[in-house]
Amino acid sequence: MSEQETFKALVKQIYRIFLRIFVLLVILGSGLTYYLVNPDLFDASSKAEVVMVPIELDEDRIENGIHVRTGLINAEGLMTVVNNCTNCHSSKLVTQNRMTAERWNETIKWMQETQNLWDLGGNQELIVNYLVTNYPVQKKGRRMALTNIDWYDLE
């Protein structure tokens, strides 16, 4: 074998080795890329993953005049009430209480003194107006008549 032929054979051998490495790299690389894109494919133990993604399109949507998330009546001052009065306690504590402006102001003062409520500034009047307008005090007297009776036959 001439020196030239030996050299050619060597180059061919090196070329084949490089080709093999390249092909291997391409296979490995595409496999790895696929894994990165879809990691569960090679994981025999992974089960179909059900991910609940609650979709709230509009967290402040109004239905039938009611702010759905809090149950508060949609009227002037609603969002100010939502943003200032439903952080610490539920809106249910607001809607089940019926007070005059004077007593709401006292209650706000009490919450500021003892419950870490912030200074409401100019919003206080808006909030109190919203409350006394939409949740007015009802007269109950000394004893109310029984109402909303669900009649049923007693055997």
Binding site: R69, N87, K92, Q96, L146
Partner: protein
């Protein structure tokens, strides 16, 4: 961004939308962990309550029963009202739980583990009536501030534990002791760690009663978490707020306990009667002690339509705070006439008593059956609202159900 993380972040931001706050460090949450606020939005499932219970408030949780749900002689968990001032604690480990007795008037400050409490002291079981001080608040006019309870903030379960007296005496009570005050692990709504949602107590005389216990069981099982697991102070006959949940410290005080909801207007009524709506100064308000005499018709449910000529068997319970119910009556003519009916002796002191009667109606029409209990001191339930008070406590007006005879 990896797909998985993206989904998690998207989900968390939706959670944030629902619960209205950012979840701090949300992206560090463990896989498979759902924030507690969302774990089970169904309170009936979460607290194992009858679905006819009424949710008054969901932050903090306040849920009441209806009269007909309280028909059992011993109230099961499913019908027990929930009154919380703060947030229900999480991650309670009974193995590391301790109770400390301290205060100005303790001889030796002492700390007990749960197993020490259970093994060191004799255990007792009592059936105890616990009624929220504000039960019936919804009827006051002008309205009183707070959760608008109707009739269902009362229960009478059995509680097993050790006598508070035995534990206090083991630590030693100085002669200048006046009051005990409890401390617990629930969190304030504002999440301010320096604030206690509630820290009430009672005078030494009540603390040392046989029936005042540190309970670790309710109706023969571990106390449900929302009712005070693993340790609850139970003081029957007094406002339920004295029966502190999740108790980990009891202070023997040399003065009236001044914890949260002991001062100001909380669990206090005017020392002298006032006109409805009248302003009362804090210093003119007195701490509520024993609850007043009261009763509840638990069968039938209001709204029964009865065939003419048939008699109606009614039943229910009556209780009188520290006292016993001596007499039980009912009226079907709005109090023009009262008929006495049978009332049983209590299972033990401070347990409610069961009454029953067979009621006959003279002709067809609309009726109301009113029940009225009289305590051993002669005090009876009013048909109208009792004295108005700024916070709407102690409404013990007669309970009534509507009945139609056809």
């Amino acid at each position: 961004m990896k797909r998985r993380n993206f989904v998690k972040k998207a989900a968390l931001s939706s959670f944030a939308t629902i619960i209205g706050v950012e979840i701090v460090f949300g992206s560090n949450l463990l896989e498979g962990y759902t924030p507690l606020a969302l774990q089970d939005p169904d309170p009936f499932k979460m607290f194992k309550k009858n679905t006819e219970m009424v949710v008054l408030n969901d932050k903090p949780w306040n849920i009441e029963a209806q009269a007909h749900l309280l028909d059992d002689r011993i109230t099961p968990n499913s019908s027990m009202f929930i009154r919380n001032n703060g947030l229900v604690p999480e991650d309670i480990d009974p193995n590391t739980w301790t109770l400390t007795i301290d205060g100005e008037s303790v001889k030796n400050q002492k700390t007990y583990t749960l197993s020490e409490l259970k093994s060191k002291f004799k255990q007792h079981t009592y059936q105890l009536t616990i009624e929220c001080g504000g039960n019936g608040r919804s009827e006051f006019d002008p309205p009183a501030k707070g959760n608008q309870w109707t009739v269902g903030a009362v229960h009478c379960a059995t509680w097993t534990g050790v006598r508070l007296r035995d534990v206090l005496e083991d630590a030693g009570i100085k002669s200048n002791a006046v009051y005990i005050g409890f401390h617990a692990v629930d969190k304030h709504l504002s999440l301010d760690p320096k604030k206690e949602p509630i820290s009430r107590g009672c005078p030494m005389a009540k603390a040392l009663q046989d029936e005042t216990i540190l309970a670790f069981q309710m109706n023969g099982e571990d106390i449900p978490l929302v009712h005070g697991y693993p340790l609850r102070l139970v003081a029957g006959g007094w406002p339920a707020s004295v029966s502190g949940k999740w108790v980990n410290r009891i202070s023997i005080r040399n003065k009236i306990h001044d914890g949260t909801k002991m001062t100001g207007t909380a669990y206090r009524v005017p020392c002298e009667p006032v006109a409805p709506g009248e302003k009362v100064k804090d210093e003119d308000m007195c701490i509520i002690e024993s609850m007043p005499v009261k009763s509840l018709i638990t069968y039938p449910k209001t709204g029964a339509v009865l065939k003419k000529g048939k008699s109606l068997n009614i039943r229910g319970h009556a209780w009188a705070g520290e006292l016993e119910v001596a007499q039980m009556e009912y009226s079907i003519d709005f109090g023009s006439s009262w008929k006495t009916c049978a009332v049983e002796k209590p299972a033990n002191r401070l347990a409610w008593q069961h009454f029953s009667a067979s009621v006959n109606f003279p002709k067809s029409g609309y009726y109301e059956v009113w029940a009225r209990a009289t305590a051993s001191n002669g005090r009876t339930q009013p048909m109208l609202l009792p004295g108005w008070n700024p916070k709407g406590y102690l409404n013990n007006a007669c309970h009534r159900i509507a009945v139609k005879v056809k």
